[in-house]
Symmetry: C2
Subunit: 312 residues, 2 copies
């Protein structure tokens, strides 16, 4: 007799998010059985070594057979292909979800392939680190973070509620919104920040007047903060930009307009414009710390005064 | 009988850097006497409460009298005025230095006011947090960080060597370069990163389609990293941009060119260009971690799974 909310969860893809989910499902007993599937045999073997699941499958269709919850944890560009692979094997009544950072495109890609007898509830946990792969996951990743659900019109409210409880079981707060709004919000809080981080690191690497070794040595003056997110998974992020094109271009245009204004202020020595902005932005940091979305400790609580040899 | 390398150090300005220096001078016994001066009586009283110095002065000239090392720890825009105030009171043979993030302008502002009988050795410790004021300082701030000295032509090498040893005494590694090169390096590793962080936070605050509360809630997806440096001291940073105009505008132009290339790649669905950059930038992160300039821990070693109430 089982009391777990799901009998069998199939995790398709076992990178940072997939493996963090596996840790949560196990720790909080959110399902009786964890079926793991991923394309590369090497990654699957590593997941097995880590004991992340109960069964391991190279064939995604085999993994989802008998599953009442299926979660795609793959780059958003792969969602369409995966949904085709698994469609015929999905159990009637199963909840099919994902963790992609773009929701409109995921729905467009998956919905035409999915049978009418399942519940499709797209999701996006707002959590991550710059690391990837099955070794990167950990149980606390989703705690006190938000997970956004973007159900399509006509979705059974009970299926949405079950998935909501699942994510709450992982420690998340859950919010429901439209896919369109999600993609706009994420463009400004995530996609454009990643793009400009990648970009400044690229600009610095290409200079002929400043050496790469100088960039590395003196990075503690601000630059190194950007290199963390510019170390994120390249495939995942390429897909994000290709699949949230409209919203990213819109937010990028605003960013560039605003930057041109600052550029002009610098050129013409307009200190007031700079000071006014720099004062305003402090309040937002304060809001984030108060909302528990970042640490109040200076410098992210980084250890100071420790060399590379001291780190363990 | 004293063995401290300096008899009396005068710290002009007692914010994050000044107070961190005070902690270091005391802990490592780099001087027999620490004289502290700052413009605002309230800040001076707080420095005294914290026991940061041995004497406290509202009059900067009084503080530097008898000092064999004088360090200006004020926003770069104030260096000219401060050098005028103290010039007549400086002891022959004293080393006069600063900690400003721009060196060319500081030299231009200070050199004409300083008497010939002192040694002027501009300096810049590459270290900081987003916090400011006399309470923000701590002893470990400079450990394993770089400090750049930019002596002008004709400076007594012995004075440079003495200041080098002082910074090494604070735990820093020391590098010597020209002011011009320093300003170029810092424009790319520090000034432009700060500008774009301030800018993206401003862009996000001004949106009419995404609320400020959404920006705060979902900030863990990347945005919050930028808010930390966008919470840095507004006066200090206004001055940096006004005083390193040429180099900042040059680096900003390169950043914008590169960003336009990425924008075009997104518009035309050119995934290869994105993927190539995103792969290249990972290597730079690795270099920074290997050089001991950032932690190897994921997410800067931020605590996960802790709410605001858990933080102490």
């Amino acid at each position: 007799m089982s009391e777990a909310p799901f009998a069998r969860v199939a995790l398709i893809g076992i990178g940072l998010i997939g493996s963090s989910l596996a840790h949560n499902i196990r720790a909080h007993r959110l399902a009786d059985h964890i079926a793991i599937t991923t394309r590369r045999a090497e990654t699957l073997a590593r997941a097995a070594e880590l004991g992340l699941g109960d069964s391991y499958h190279l064939d995604a269709a085999e993994a989802v057979r008998g599953a009442d919850l299926v979660i795609l944890c793959v780059p958003v560009g792969s969602c369409g292909a995966v949904s085709k692979e698994i469609a015929a094997a999905l159990e009637p009544g199963a909840i099919v979800s994902d963790v992609g950072s773009v929701k409109g495109s995921v729905i467009q890609q998956m919905q035409p392939n999915l049978p009418a007898h399942i519940h499709f509830v797209p999701a996006h946990p707002i959590a991550g680190t710059e690391q990837s792969g099955p070794d990167a996951g950990f149980r606390e990743l989703f705690e006190n973070r938000w997970c956004i659900l973007t159900p399509v019109e006509g979705t059974d409210p009970q299926a949405v509620e079950r998935l909501k409880r699942f994510w709450e079981g992982c420690g998340s707060n859950v919010e429901v919104m439209t896919a369109e709004h999600h993609d706009l919000v994420l463009a400004i809080v995530s996609h454009v920040p990643h793009l400009i981080a990648y970009n400044i690191v690229g600009t610095a690497a290409d200079l002929e007047t400043v050496t790469q070794s100088e960039v590395v040595k003196f990075s503690a003056s601000g630059f190194r903060d950007f290199t963390r997110i510019a170390a994120s998974d390249p495939t995942m992020w390429r897909d994000v930009f290709l699949h949230n094109r409209e919203a990213v271009l819109e937010m990028l245009a605003r960013f560039s307009e605003d930057l041109a204004t600052l550029q002009r202020a610098i050129r013409w020595g307009d200190g007031d414009t700079l000071f006014e902005l720099f004062t305003r932005t402090r309040a937002i940091r304060r809001g984030i710390v108060e909302a528990g979305q970042d640490t109040a400790q200076p410098d992210f609580g980084r250890e100071h005064g420790r060399g590379p040899k001291d780190e363990t």
